[in-house]
Amino acid sequence: MLASGFVLEFLKGPTLALQEFYLLTGRAMRNVTRQPHYTDDIKLQMDSIGVGSIPIVLLTGFFSGAVMALQMGRALQQYGQTGRTGTVVSIILVRELGPVLTALMVAGRNASGIASELGSMKVTEQIDAMRALGTDPIQKLVTPRMIATGVMLPCLTVIDDFVGMVGGWIIGKLLYDLDALQYWSQTWHALVWSDVVQGLLKPFVYSFVISLIGCFYGLRASGGTQGVGRATTQAMVAASVTILILNLFMGLIFVKYSGN
């Protein structure tokens, strides 16, 4: 009896947080079709979240593609199949590594950035001031970030995939003397439509995780600068873990229903 009471008391906090998260998500989604639309804020966030993340995505893509070609080339060499390196790099990048690594990088950079920005606004009463001045903070702050991340993350993933393939090709050329035409034709022909759908649908879903978790923790921040720091860390950890969990489940769904 005592134990069940303790468990129920322990579950109250997470349940309430989950409920608040769903409410925030619902309101942010509903605002997509509601006036007013803050298009300037959407453009600003697309620049900050999307364009601002390009350098880190280029670096991540290039080195992950290069290291994958390095290891896969070595493994395939044992079977005399080094020429298949492009196929392996292409499939793994487009289906799995591209979406996940891009999302993790953007989560590290932006979920924490969003949480700290909104958290600072919360603890200095700027969110209350916004409400008092007759504007909906969810419409003004959350929805533009959600839309901007939803548009930019799939674009960043495409960039990451391509740069990863370039990294793989450079390693293939330098270490395994792969022919450029052979490598690129293999990367192209290895992909089927379900890979492309998977490679774009995943980042689209992750974009909501990054933006909404960042906003959620930011808007819940309390306790001054320490609270903002805590919200920032929590947002980044929660977004990263959720992305990794979702990646497995989405992968399972695609394997089950598309056979890939």
Partner: protein, 273 residues
């Protein structure tokens, strides 16, 4: 003469953040048009909560609140924005948007409130006019972090009055300011009241602020505060203690009050008229 309409009414309003611990306890009062209400009380007595509850920023757990003639007690958040747009509020720490310049801060309500339709070309003039009112026109392009405490408070007043709201809520406008700057801020509040005939709630723990509002008027010719004399101002004092309203009345009644807690807030200022 017909009685002035109430712009704000509290009817047995209670607010709780933790169950069973009231922050506001059965508060009732009404603010008719043209009245200035001074709200005093010790730190933690519920003054700021009262102002935020009046705006619907905090929810009441009991009682009813009417703001500008509309019952806001159970209105959903998205229906409150248009009502709040007609009320100006000065926050305790100014709450200016720190990523925006002073001009952008003051223009914010004009740009973002659905009910306000001002052509873009008129916007700048409106912002300048509002900043001229608080004598801060030279700080248009500065960021809040570049301003002193008093200047931030003045910029926040400019933002609160830029849309010409009929009701203004000031949360501790002089807190943490030196006496000269505090006097300047109070003079601006009196100027706004007398120039635009606004109704106001002023939260403060300084009796001299209330005394200034109750006994002085803004003289537009000289730009100074003159003793009100015969032209008495419509000022009412309220004192809160641990979330309860322990006093409501005129300045004379306040000074005559025998309650020891209330008496602690009252002192005869040297400059009283």
């Amino acid at each position: 003469m017909a009685a002035a309409a109430n712009l704000l009414e509290f009817d047995k309003v209670s607010v709780e953040f933790d169950a069973g611990v009231p922050v506001l306890d059965q508060i009732s009062f009404s603010v008719p048009e043209g009245q200035t209400r001074i709200i005093m009380g010790a730190a933690g007595s519920g003054k700021t909560v009262l102002l935020k509850t009046a705006m619907g920023l905090n929810r009441a757990c009991a009682g009813r609140i009417s703001l500008l003639g509309e019952d806001i007690t159970e209105k959903p958040e998205n229906q409150l924005f248009d009502i709040r747009a007609r009320v100006g509020m000065l926050f305790q720490d100014s709450a200016l948007f720190d990523s925006m310049t002073v001009a952008q801060n003051v223009a914010y309500p004009l740009l973002n409130q659905k009910s306000i339709q001002i052509p873009r070309d008129k916007m700048e003039e409106k912002v300048r006019e509002s900043l001229r009112f608080v004598e801060l026109e030279q700080a248009l392009t500065k960021y809040p972090s570049e301003l002193s405490g008093g200047m931030r408070r003045r910029a926040a007043i400019a933002r609160a009055v830029v849309t010409g709201p009929p009701l203004l809520l000031y949360d501790s406008p002089t807190a943490g300011l030196d006496p000269i700057t505090a006097h300047t801020i109070m003079a601006l509040i009196i100027k706004e009241r007398d120039m635009d005939n606004t109704t106001a709630l002023v939260v403060t723990h300084r009796y001299q602020d209330g005394n200034l509002v109750a006994n002085f008027r803004y003289n537009p010719d000289s730009g100074t505060l003159d003793p009100a004399g015969e032209r008495a101002t419509n000022t009412v004092f309220m004192v809160l203690r641990e979330g309860r309203l322990v006093f409501e009345g005129t300045q004379t009644e306040l000074e005559a009050c025998s309650d020891s807690y209330v008496g602690k807030f009252v002192k005869k200022p040297e400059y009283a008229a």
